[in-house]
Amino acid sequence: MVVEVKNLSKSFGNHIVLDNISLKISEGENFVIFGRSGTGKSVLLKCIVRLLLPDSGEIFIDGQNILNLSEKELNKIRKYIGFVFQSSALYDSMTVKENLEFPLIRNFEFTAEERENKIRSVLEKVDLAGAINKMPAELSGGMKKRIGLARSIITEPKLILYDEPTTGLDPITTKEISHLIVELQKDLNVTAIVVTHDLVCAHIVANHAIVLKDGKIRYEGALGKLTSTDDEFLNDFFDNEYFEDKNGRK
């Protein structure tokens, strides 16, 4: 799926969160969005799937302006979009199996056997086949993230949006999740938009990155070029984590 955002603005009261943002994400690209907390990264992600309505601007997914679509038309597109939430957002009254089965039962016409096979296949992919009958409350943070990921890929989406997929995880799990994102992109050829603060994750995942500041795009381009910029904000932003790397303390 190709995503194009044109002149998008969004405010909450007097606080301007996104100010005339434009960007284009090509098919099969892993697109990373950086920015300080509260700069509107998650708001941008939620606008792209119309969980939030922007104040102005246009959002095109595969050439269709989703802001002009009816709920029914929008849902046809959403069926092929996966969203991995920061909090995992697993349905806590359902088991892992029911969580994974939920979109399949309601949006697709698979037989019970086909559903079972799909569930087993995605659970193996995220290395959690043994958790099939567990409740979300019985899972650790990392396991929840993986199940959230499994739920978002079970419908074989063409676009996956990741909202801080590695926040709060230990460095090893962070790397595992990041490699999983890359694997999925290769296996399913999906377009991925990843909101993160995590440079380790970004280094593994990103083909292309933007940095948001004060509601605007401060930088857009390859991740590698962020290290050789003269921009004071960007140097500050990446200093703590990235320049440690440069100083050989990685």
Binding site: L51, R78, L90, D92, N107, T155
Partner: protein, 263 residues
Amino acid sequence: MFESKRYYQLEEKLNEFFIMLGGISAFSIAFFKNVFLPPYEFGEVKKHMDELGVKTLPIVSVTGFIIGLVLAMQSQPVMARFGAESFLPSMVALSVVRELGPVITALIFAGRVSSGIGAELGSMRVTEQIDAMEVSAINPFKFLVVTRVLACVFILPMLTVYVDFIAILGGYAAVALILNMNFQLYVNSLLPSLLFSDVLPGIAKTFFFGFIVGIVGSYKGYMADNGTVGVGKASTSSVVISSLMILVMDMVLVKITLIFWSL
């Protein structure tokens, strides 16, 4: 200075109140728009009816029995004063079936269920579970709200009929103790006085009460924000608002009932 601050606080409260009324009205319209559209989540409705009904059963049983018992005990000396003790069973039955049974059951149901729905949907909202449903092309309003409201609408009349019976039994316990009346005489005394026009309006209004409990709890939970504080507020205000709305609705429905069955 102080006066103007109070004025603005009052204005703010009034604004919040009217916004909430508008929100509940819009939520009710959305309910009627969605309820007749497929897919029909009968399984979910049944599941919620089981949960809501079974969980409320113990508390309404105890309350119903005590209401009937106390009503008979309190009324007996007064009725004896007017030489009308023999009408005590009828008085208990009519009071319970026409007013006390439906309203008390609805208020307890509001306390137990509306807060539960508010807290459950509120926590789903703040943990992004409702967003997750929406982005998966599933209508969360239909799956979460319509099913719960329907469950409330269907289960509350059933609970009310049950509470009416239990309260009448409670009344019998008091009458048996005070007047030494046997059960057959008690039943024979109250049955002729109970008319269709007493029973039907009492049961019919609980459909409205059930709707209020379901829609207010769902609205408060669905619109919750501000993390766990918001969930707590949603839960508490669900009970307060649904209880108040039940009492106001009762007043309106009693007036309408009296127009049609002014017996």
